[in-house]
Symmetry: C2
Subunit: 327 residues, 2 copies
């Protein structure tokens, strides 16, 4: 049974995982959907009530029925590197490739439906609440009056994008930033705005979940840190990430979040306040883990490889609940 990795050619994180898979002797096929219909080809036949499908990459052939798991890492746009690329060819190629893979019984990290749903920040916040994770008071609104009223209750606010990254090419991350006092909020009427109570933090927490394994890392906030620097991705810091214990209640809530969201992988960001409480900020279903592994030495790539290689179907995390057989 083969592990299929969908990613672009230059992907150091995938390389790290492939090393472990090779060590354990598990067959791996790695391909970029962008290489359809060049070095990547596909074929699937529906005859007499059954399906037989194949993928080929660089001349290597793999049966879709023989896939153990599919890792959706950083796949390119289907047929994006075709000789004559077009929106139509991309649509046809994407439907053919993912449509066939969706009919397989392989385990997904992460399933495309679960991944898409998990990107919705408002949904993340609600799910985190329901799982019992502390969520800082948050407002998403296009009503200036609602924003003003919220700012009266929570004067110390940060503003963030609702959706994550700005869709330019390449996509650009938009930093969370502090809302100055006396902000007018009239512009809220022109686009949904996410306002969140700022958590006075003593550390950032990155919790990487791989199936049932939870690996947490902590980066202490520098004593002389500017309280205006709220987004750890954009602040230089001499503090390294260090391994951290996951409090049992957080572990339980995170596992519930993964079960409910049907994610096999998630990178959770928390802010740790002065009391040691971990406040849920977001869960990125495709978050990077290389920088944490480098700082902490935690075996995250190894955990990913183990999950992908695992033959046990009992651990399947798949959208569709009871109907996984036909997903």
């Amino acid at each position: 049974m083969t592990v299929l990795i969908l990613t672009c050619e230059e992907d150091v994180t995938a390389d790290m995982v492939v090393v472990h898979l090779h060590e354990s002797g598990v067959p791996v096929v790695r391909l970029d959907p962008a290489d359809l219909t060049g070095s990547v080809a596909l074929s699937g036949e529906y005859v007499h009530g059954s399906f037989r499908g194949h993928l080929s990459s660089g001349g290597r052939m793999v049966s879709i029925g023989g896939l153990r798991s599919v890792w959706v890492r950083r796949p390119g746009s289907p047929a994006g590197r075709a000789a004559e690329p077009s929106a139509w060819l991309t649509e046809e190629s994407g439907q053919a490739l993912y449509g066939m893979l969706r009919g397989s019984e392989a385990r997904w990290m992460n399933h495309p439906d679960a991944a898409r749903r998990a990107r919705h920040k408002p949904w993340q916040l609600r799910l985190a609440q329901q799982c019992g994770l502390p969520v800082p008071a948050t407002l998403i609104t296009t009503f200036p009056r609602a924003a003003r009223e919220f700012a009266e209750r929570y004067p110390d606010l940060v503003v963030k994008p609702v959706s994550g990254a700005h869709p330019q090419d390449p996509p650009r991350a938009v930093p969370a930033s502090r809302v100055p006092p006396e902000t007018d909020f009239a512009a809220v009427a022109f686009g949904p705005t996410l306002l969140q109570r700022r958590v006075p933090k003593r550390a950032d927490i990155r919790l990487t979940a791989v199936g049932e394994r939870l690996l947490a890392a902590r980066k202490a906030t520098a004593v002389n840190a500017d309280p205006g620097d709220v987004d750890v991705r954009f602040t230089a810091s001499a503090e390294p990430w260090r391994p951290a214990e996951v409090p049992p209640r957080v572990a339980e809530a995170v596992r519930e979040y993964l079960r409910s969201s049907q994610l096999a992988y998630g990178a959770f960001d928390f802010a740790e306040d002065g009391d040691g409480t971990w406040w849920f900020l977001e869960c990125n279903q495709s978050g990077q883990f290389g920088f944490v592994e480098v700082d902490t030495g935690q075996p995250i790539a190894r955990a990913v490889a183990d999950w992908l290689a695992r033959p046990d179907p009992a651990d399947r995390v798949q959208p569709g609940g009871a109907d996984t057989a036909v997903i």
Copy 2:
């Protein structure tokens, strides 16, 4: 409890359903996400572990917690009609709107995840097979040799797009058409191609499924029909659609298809052969029904209204299986 209809302004099909909802006294809010952030506004607050959200359309306010059901009919692109539209504003507005709605407990026709998955033709074919529906022998391939070999086994073939509609603006339906004998198939290497055994048909069947209700219509093939006209959407015909009985085995299989795909609505197309067998061609999760209702007098709009109005949560068809509470 309110029914929310997401659709564009000019939508006669939605009008038909709204008439029935008004008759039964069920509150309805109809809005087009394209009108964010003009006449449509939203606000959602996550405080103390709970969520309170509101939508407003043309000055009418509705609580997200008070939604009974959401009908995703023909919604425009979020913020598509904003004063200064942009990909970024569309992304932010879509995440805010659908992210909040996904956190509600309303029933969906259809849920966005189920709808997206259901558009994959290769997945449809596999699911139809697994539900026991007869599927004409089909090949989806980028291998010319596989296409040639398939054409030897099944000399009478049609070719169709894998994905459905050509993504031009407005999208254009691509007709299925017959494959001439002696076709070379070399071009298959440049894009995935769907080849399917042509069913010599004596009628087209359109089966509209609304929750548990199945309404089938049949359009007899004209005696002098050109066998090259394989796509009923593109052939003029004096034959009207007439109501048809659904064979019990087909009904059972279609209900299984709906359960597995988690669709509340689906428009199934079949070809009826000389033996009376219904061959599955596709299931369009957003297929039109107005033309069938006009010809047959079948109460499809009424069935949709009844489903949307139904207070019974036991009928919920939602992605997420056992975890619907947090979807």
